[in-house]
Structures are given as structure tokens and as C-alpha cells.
């Protein structure tokens, strides 16, 4: 698992430099430029399509430094402004983030057209992430999409500790099992945000970050009343 975060580490660090923790991460302004730089892509094309069984698709070609990302368009805001509270826009942002992560795949994580035809689709349908490095990389793409849109250190602030109270938004979300308000702030799907704030997921991310010396302490730059 650590090789994924090693590849992402410089990007995650730079993301925090270009986007303050108390601002939403933007696809166009933040993620695309960073993945072009760290994924060595000259072109990343985004193609919105009507949602169906395939939610997202990444077509990459490292030698020509290109990537094409197909994502589910929001049928309400397609062609207009993204709304962070809209489930369709959240899904689009999350899918793009997930597929961008694959710009950083190692050779052994990549899925060739032949492998996709023979094994990968069946593995993904059965949710057998550990069946192959390629399926594993697909699963990890979803985790890293969460980290890109709802950053770990901001989640620490929201969760609070002995010196910083847990946010009312999180307390309300946990009590009602409704993560809409938090999800709206991050512009990511409710279920992804619920997962992001779970104890198990936070512990996992803390461990992974510590293996590559990414910061795991709570930041001081965002105030509880901001």
C-alpha cells in the first residue's frame, strides 16, 4: 500500500501549499495542474457522459503524456457552475479525482486492454480488490480521491481533540447518520465523507501517512470559529 502514497506524497504536500486547508479543493485550479506536473501529463482531457453502470474511466498513455478521464455528468449543473451541495456535482468531482490518481500508477498497477478484457472487469464486479495489483490500484484510487477532496489534516480539525472541540457539523452528522452538510463543504459524496471520518479509516490513513513522513498532526491555521 505504501507505494501509492509515496507516489502521491509530493502532490499532497504541494496541494496544501496551493490550496489552504479551509478552502475546497478544486478540480480545474488545483488537481489538474498538479497531476499534469506530478503525473508527467501534457494533456488531461475531461469528458462528461450520462451516468450508467460505468461511473468513471481512465484512459492513459504515459509515452504520449496524455490521459482521458470520463466521468458522470451532473444532469442539473452540466455546462454551468459546480454546486458543492449537489450530489451530481459531488459524484463528478469524486470520480475525476479518483481517475486522476491513475496518472501516478506504476507499471505493475496499470491495466492493459488485454488484461481488462480477460480478468479485471470480473474482479471489479465481484469487488475482489486484492485479486491483482491492477484491481488493487483501482480500489486505492477511491481512497485517494477522498484524501484529495477532504484532506486528512482538515478532518483532524473537524474531529477535534482535547484542545479543539469536535465540530458541530460532525457531531450532527454522526448523531443523525446524515453527512450532507460536511459533504457539501468538501464537494464530495456523502458516503465517501462518512467513510473518511470513520475511526478505522482515520487510523488507516494516519498509519499510511506516517510511513512516508507526511504530517499527521492537527494544523493550527484554521480556527474553530472561521
Amino acid at each position: 500500500m505504501s507505494h501509492h502514497v509515496r507516489r502521491l506524497k509530493p502532490l499532497l504536500l504541494e496541494l496544501d501549499e496551493v490550496c489552504p486547508l479551509d478552502r475546497p479543493v478544486l478540480v480545474d485550479a488545483h488537481l489538474i495542474p498538479l497531476f499534469k506536473k506530478h503525473g508527467e501529463r501534457e494533456s488531461i482531457e475531461l469528458i462528461p457522459v450520462p451516468a450508467a453502470q460505468v461511473r468513471g474511466l481512465h484512459l492513459g498513455h504515459a509515452p504520449s503524456k496524455t490521459a482521458v478521464i470520463i466521468y458522470p455528468r451532473c444532469e442539473i449543473h452540466h455546462g454551468g457552475q459546480v454546486d458543492g451541495a449537489c450530489p451530481g456535482c459531488q459524484e463528478a468531482r469524486y470520480t475525476i479525482a479518483k481517475e486522476l490518481v491513475h496518472c501516478l500508477d506504476r507499471k505493475e498497477d496499470k491495466t492493459s486492454p488485454d488484461h481488462m478484457a480477460s480478468d479485471l472487469i470480473n474482479q471489479l464486479v465481484r469487488r475482489e480488490w486484492s485479486e491483482s495489483p491492477q484491481a488493487f490500484a483501482d480500489g486505492w484510487g477511491e481512497l485517494w480521491a477522498i484524501e484529495l477532496l477532504a484532506r486528512f489534516r482538515h478532518r483532524l480539525l473537524v474531529r477535534g481533540n482535547a484542545s479543539v472541540p469536535r465540530s458541530l457539523r460532525l457531531a450532527t452528522a454522526v448523531a443523525s447518520n446524515n453527512y450532507f452538510l460536511l459533504a457539501s463543504q468538501y464537494g464530495a459524496p456523502d458516503d465517501a465523507i462518512k467513510r473518511a471520518f470513520s475511526d478505522g479509516y482515520m487510523d488507516l490513513m494516519r498509519t499510511i501517512r506516517m510511513t512516508v513522513q507526511l504530517p499527521v498532526e492537527m494544523p493550527a491555521l484554521v480556527h474553530a470559529a472561521s
Partner: protein, 70 residues
């Protein structure tokens, strides 16, 4: 020829070779290899025909004005 092979050939005709193809599947019922391959073909057809076109920009100006508050 399978739907997937047809789809990949269509996409290659537009973009050239790929060395990495990744999928994100929905959580719906009734998914199978065949139904997913058919969906990939739907997407490939739409891209090649021009029905699905690249988005010039992902407009987040309004969202960018927000703050992630506690």
C-alpha cells in the same frame, strides 16, 4: 468481436494507444461483465460520434468562494 473489444478499437481510433485503463463502477444491482462492456461501448460510441465531447473547463468559480468551516 466483444463489445469491449469494439469499444477499445473505437477509442484507439480516436486517441491512439493506451497503456492503462481504469474503471470506476457504480453500486447498482445487476452488473455483469457483459453489461459493463456494453456500457463502455456506449461511452466509446458517444465519444467517437461527438455526442460526448471534452469539457473545456470544470466551472467551480462559485464553489471556490466557499470556506470549509467547522
Amino acid at each position: 468481436m466483444s463489445d469491449l473489444q469494439t469499444a477499445l478499437d473505437l477509442l484507439k481510433s480516436k486517441y491512439g494507444e493506451f497503456d492503462n485503463i481504469k474503471l470506476l463502477l457504480g453500486a447498482g444491482e445487476g452488473m455483469s461483465k457483459a453489461s459493463i462492456e456494453a456500457d463502455i461501448l456506449r461511452i466509446a460510441d458517444g465519444i467517437v460520434s461527438g455526442e460526448f465531447a471534452p469539457q473545456a473547463s470544470f466551472a467551480e468559480d462559485n464553489f471556490a468562494q466557499m470556506k470549509v468551516t467547522l
